[in-house]
Each structure stands twice: as C-alpha cells, then as structure tokens.
Symmetry: C2
Subunit: 282 residues, 2 copies
Amino acid sequence: MDKISLLNGVEDNHGGIVVNLMKVKPMTVDEFDSKLDVSLKAWKDQGKKGIWIKLPSELSSLVNTALKRGFTYHHAENEYVMLTYWLPEPPSTLPANASHRIGIGAFVLNKNREMLVVQENSGYFKNTGVWKVPTGTIKEGEGIWAGAVREVKEETNIETRFVEVLAFRESHKAVWQRKTDIFFICELEASTFEITKQDSEIFGAKWMPVEEYANQPYHAKKENEMFKLIANICLKRWQEKGYTGFSTVLAMNSSKGSLYCNADHANLLNGKPDQDSTLTSI
Amino acid sequence: MDKISLLNGVEDNHGGIVVNLMKVKPMTVDEFDSKLDVSLKAWKDQGKKGIWIKLPSELSSLVNTALKRGFTYHHAENEYVMLTYWLPEPPSTLPANASHRIGIGAFVLNKNREMLVVQENSGYFKNTGVWKVPTGTIKEGEGIWAGAVREVKEETNIETRFVEVLAFRESHKAVWQRKTDIFFICELEASTFEITKQDSEIFGAKWMPVEEYANQPYHAKKENEMFKLIANICLKRWQEKGYTGFSTVLAMNSSKGSLYCNADHANLLNGKPDQDSTLTSI
C-alpha cells in the first residue's frame, strides 16, 4: 500500500496547525478522508493543539467528512468555511469568531446649526412618521468615522467632515439573536447644504431644528428611553460646547485604523483631526 | 409522481424567506435537493428576495447540495452554517456577517494610585520584558465594562469597579486578515490589593507607578506610537482629572446593553454608574 501523505499544514504561534485548502487541486472525499485520518494521528502524536482547515466553496463536499472526523464550524465568509478541531483536553483556547457588528448614527449640523434628519422606506421606523438621524453599518475594513461620512453621503448626498464620537450604545443579541451591535453616535459638520435623497432607502430627508428633533413624541415613550438619552446628548452638545466626545488622533500608522480619545486631548496631540490625511487611503 | 413539498420557510421583514433546519428530521441529499429545487422556483415566482438556510452540523452532508443550487456561505457558528441566496438581480442587500472583534485593555489603579501591569506567557509581548495592562477579548453577549472587570479578575484575581472608557483604537485586518479589532482602554478602580496571577496565561503581575509604565523604552520606538499614545492617555488621566472619558448611563433597558457617553454627562443623568445594578444580570 502506498504511504498516504499528510495534509499540508503550517504551524501557527499557538501550537496549532493551519491547513489552507483555498488553492489546492480538487480531491475526492475518500482521498481527503484518508489524508485527514493520518494527519490527525500525526498531529496528536506531535502534541499539536488547535487544527484549522480553511475550505473553499468549491470543496464543500468535504465539509461533512471533516465534521465526521471531529471538526466543528468556526466561521464562514462568502467564499469559504473555516473548520477547527481542538486536539488536547478541553477547554479549547481557540480564539472566537467575530462577535460584533458596528453601526453609526450621524448627527450632522449645517451652518445654520440645524440637523440632518431622514425617514426610511423600510425597517423599524417605517411609516411611523419619526424623523431620525442617518444610520448605517460599518463595512468590513472601514473606519467608524469614514463609515459615518459615507452613509450620510449615500443617503442624502451631503458632504461632511467627522468631528467627534458623542456616545455609543451596546445592544446584545441584536444580530442573529446572538451577536452584539455597537452603535456609535458621531457628530459631523456639513460642508454642503442641498439634500438629494437616495430613493430606494430614504422616504424623506430635511434639515430640522435640534430641539424639534429631540421633542418628537416618540422620544417621550418609556420604551424609547435609549433613543431619548441619545437625543438629549445631541441636544446637550448643540446647546453648549461643554459636552466633549472622542475624536481621532493622527498617528503614524493610522491607515490601519484610528485612535479615538477625548477630543480636547486629541486636539492637543493633533493640531488637526486625522481623517483629513487618511480619507483617501481607506 | 407525488407532489414534492416545499422547504418550510418563514417570511422575514425584508421580502425574504428563512428556512431553519435546526430541529428537523434528517433527510437524504436527494430529498433535500428535490425540495430545494421546487422551493427556489416557487420563491422566485413569488418575487422573494433573500433566502436563508440555517443548517445544523448534523446536516452538513447537505451543504454541498445547496451550494450547487447557487447558495453561498453567509456565516457559521460552532453548531451550524448559514447559507444565503439572493434571488433578484444584484446587488444583494443582505446584511453582512459580524465584522468586528472587541478587545479591552484595563488601566487599573489601586488606592496608592499605582497601576496593575502584567507580562504574558504567549503572544506578541512574550519574552520582551514589556509590562502591559491586562487585556482580553469581549465574549459574545458580554458588555465592554463587564468584560474588562472579568479579564482583570481572571488574570490577577483583583476585584474592580468600571470607571470610564478612556479611548479606543481600531485595527483593520487584525482578525483572519479581514476583520477589524476595536480595543477599548477602560479605567477601573481596584477594590482589592493582593495579586494572585493566573499561571497559564500570565508570566508576571504587579503594581507599578504610572510614569514608570509610560516611560518603558518600548514606548519610545517609532513603530509603537499607538501604544505610546495610549500610555500617554493613561498618564494624562492619572495626572489630572481634566481628562474625561465615556462612562455608562443607567437606562431602563440596560440589561440588553449599555449606553456610554461623556462621563460628566453620565454622572449628571445617573447619580451612579449603571454596572452596580446590572453586574449580576449579565
């Protein structure tokens, strides 16, 4: 009998093995099963801990085989599924899957110090008559401030500059009944005035006095306390500059992300907010 | 020929169908394939948009079949994989998978105003001699402040109370080369003094003057600018109370999460920080 070769794996920094099958030639279920069997025995003998297999969509016929050998799902993205097997005694110390989704709400003020509000065609506020701040989800690899600027532009065509994060809210089990949503309320300064709404998502968009926004009957209802607190933070910020949020600091390596801290401190360190220099690099 | 019944799906709020197979009887690949075929035709005729199939690990033999019919992976967790199919013309407006992982660093001060520092047995700082703040990853469904308190307890056995978020840092492509990590620097106040380190993860742990921490040679290197900025924020906070972070607000529905805003404003709204009341509910 020919000797069966091991699956081609790379050691990681935590005593584990990563098998990346994204660019391998197709293999049959039987071939994969034999290789997996001898590989697992070898890795166990070597005292390996966490085993990772990254399987492209094209090899989805092998998923079942790996699960039968003791693997479990770890995470998946459009083009692949990641499987893991913790060889030693439990508990496993394998890092968890991505656990959060990040959203933004944009508190946009124009030169008249009115705020930008919208009504949406779908979702929670559909047909309620409630005027809300533009909201959206941060894309994979996108910065919070950059996502806020993008969403406002997409929904209303208003150009803005990021000023500060005013507050953020955690909502547990908000996504797939298990993942947490963190929603950042960002203050932005409008540099254009003419609204052109995006028709598919947005039912209406206009400039509104901040007090009128905060005083909508919706905010007075007990179950909407979280929204009222957020509206009050916007109002507080509008009434006086005494409310300080978190702004971005210009760091050498800010193309890989930003540091957000107390805006006074950020100004001290910066001279200027960092998005001016990194907007085009994201 | 018998009429093939459709897969049992539930309409969602966005014109789509959710097929949950978590608790169905096992079915053969052929049976699933026939049902999927007639179901997809019916849903197309009905003008349905996004189709979701939640497949438990036990039914992993069906993954390949669904992908052949045009489904793609959306996300996966230990016990299931979620598959999606966008029936109309692109672009799909299906919501994205979880995109972020959330970490914390804990700036813990004792009554002598010294800070808690650790050295780790593995990871980036192994064998570097660098003293760092205790760090960790927020668990699924856990609040930021609660995770900070938990990590400090696990690593050093020190009991703490959450005070404020001092700053946060985004690092893009930090997880699986694609997901963003957001790292919250939290100030905590120690209520105990005796350190008992957790041996498997922690090499050393002690109380250190804040200036000594900030002045470690590591922080002077150019490539460590982000760490230096963070150390400077801790130092600034320690030197004067003029640095204000974000604290939590006690809201009616805070068991589902917290609102974090400027600490002065939070104190005004609260009277007290909200974790006192929700610690046991998480």
